[in-house]
């Protein structure tokens, strides 16, 4: 009986449960902030603080393991801007983004439309085709390392047997081959994420509407762009922005497949920061390399936050 009783009163707006009642710890506002203390303590200490520490370090000449260092202003940023390896790294990061995200979107969309149907083993397919995205990237990259091997690559072998090439392809030993190989592995890993997100969005498409359009003689493409796409547009945008952010900040795939080689030709910002910071022990410069990522990330985050909110989150 208590249930009915309460909802009635609540409707009439006569009492506001748990506000201004009893001790101060009963109040929503106070409790909410108390609840957030443990989590935010960790986030402030290990995320916010390092972020500002990183900005500070990027303006010093600190070396790994030395505590004697000087403030040098924007020197690291200036130097990097003129450094040819860093310039190539920036270009690679852009290539890596532009060369993968559109393909992931296209393939992911296609795959989602296929998986959206009812067919035998559809659950099995959904789970199975998600695998590239869920297994540890460092480990699945090892499969690609072998598929791109200069000696044992089965891709080379098949192409050779078909008579299309005379020699094994030097997938990772040539700058452009290596960049393209990295893009291929990245597309492979990212496509399932697009597929599964868009698949979730497709659940909101009204089936009757699609069928009605079909009965009225709308073609496959017309049905897609007039009925289906408007519904999934927000989620396509959100997924794309997520992917852009993750792609420009990638590390694992490049680290495992090329380590930035050959001759520093395939670094992205993450791997170059690792090389300068951990191998060359120049912490100041490495921090600056990481922070070159920041403007693009911030832009992506703002756009993403906007589209998530207009999508009706709150």
């Amino acid at each position: 009986m208590a249930l009915v009783h309460t909802s009635k009163i609540a409707e009439q707006g006569e009492i506001q449960p748990a506000q201004g009642r009893g001790s101060i710890f009963q109040r929503d506002g106070v409790l909410a902030w108390l609840f957030m203390i443990p989590g935010w303590t960790i986030l402030l200490l290990f995320m916010a603080y390092p972020f500002f520490l990183g900005i500070y370090l990027s303006m010093t000449d600190k070396m790994l393991g030395f505590n004697d260092f000087q403030f040098i202003g924007l020197e690291n940023y200036r130097y990097l801007w003129t450094d040819s390896i860093f310039q190539q790294t920036l270009r690679n990061t852009a290539i890596y983004g532009v060369g993968t995200v559109p393909f992931k979107l296209l393939f992911g969309l296609g795959l989602a439309l296929l998986l959206n149907r009812q067919f035998r083993f559809s659950r099995f397919f959904r789970a199975g085709l998600l695998l590239p995205w869920i297994v540890p990237t460092a480990l699945s990259s090892l499969a690609w390392l072998m598929l791109f091997s200069a000696v044992l690559s089965p891709i080379s072998l098949v192409l050779r047997q078909w008579g299309l090439i005379d020699q094994n392809i030097n997938f990772l030993g040539d700058a452009w081959n290596a960049r393209i190989s990295l893009c291929i592995a990245n597309i492979w890993r990212g496509t399932p994420f697009f597929a599964i997100s868009i698949l979730a969005g497709l659940q909101a498409v009204p089936t009757e509407l699609v069928e009605a359009a079909a009965l009225d003689g709308a073609s496959r493409w017309q049905r897609f762009q007039a009925v289906v796409f408007p519904v999934i547009k927000p989620i396509v945008l959100i997924t794309t922005l997520f992917s852009v952010i993750w792609t420009i900040s990638d590390f694992q795939l490049v680290y495992v497949l090329t380590k930035g080689g050959p001759a520093n030709e395939t670094h992205v910002l993450g791997t170059y920061a690792y090389q300068i910071g951990m191998n060359a022990t120049d912490i100041g410069q490495a921090a600056a390399i990481s922070l070159y990522m920041f403007p693009a990330l911030a832009l992506g985050a703002i756009l993403l936050l906007r589209s998530v909110r207009s999508g009706g989150a709150r």
Partner: protein
Amino acid sequence: MNIVGENRWWQRVLYFYLPLGFFAVLLLFPFYWMLIVSFKPDGDLLDTQANPFLLHVLNRTEGFPFISFDWSNITLKHYRYLYNDTEFTRWLWNTIIVTVGATAISLICAVFIGYALGRFKFRGGNLMGAAIFIAYLVPPTLLFIPLAELVSRLHLYNRYWALILTYPTFLIPFASWLLMGYFQTISGELEDAALVDGATRLQAMWQIILPLALPGILSAGIFCFTLAWNEFLYALVFMGTGDMKTVPVGVVSDLIKADVYFWGPLMAAAILGSVPVAIAYSFFVDNYVSGLTAGATKG
């Protein structure tokens, strides 16, 4: 009912089964390759005459019964090698400790944050929600250099705590966001009833809402587990030496050698390291997606 106008078999094949098969082959081939290489004897791997895509168990013979089995072409040698001659089990143990520790801490923090953001109306609530979302977007590559500095100042380098305390930086925002959405879907009436009956806010949360949210908390836990298991960069930088490596780091830095014969153990390790995550995910695929894109699919 499939999409209208596709009733002929050749249409179904052309527009559905063919493309689906194409995707399935491309997406799953690397796993198939890992699996067969991990069971192949080394000689087989280098044999240019043999079809590299098969394990050569089945052989044709001249007379009856036309086929024979040759089990010597399947080997568990690479798995045995991992167990006996590498520190794989130690890496596994490290990964489990770190993953469980980080997941536990993150889940507790995230339940509270998610509850506060999902069920309390308070000034600054929207802002804190946005802050959590932004925190989720901060990539490890942006922070690992200064974090390495912080880890060494706190004397955590090469200790489990280095990862148990840093993994929550991406686990807490993710799980909080997921749980916030989950808590919002639970009706407020039950809670109000309990409050009117004299329960405190905390009692209502503990006894009414949390039990209802258990499925959401469980799936958030699973995802934290898999994200922590998959992490690479922090593990490489903060715990990458000696016997403190995690599975992905150990495999990538210790098992890759400059000779042809390392592929077997390497692929075996990749398979073993992937299996726990694959199992965990396969049960929770749907929750994962709806949680991640919670904002957009609702409304």
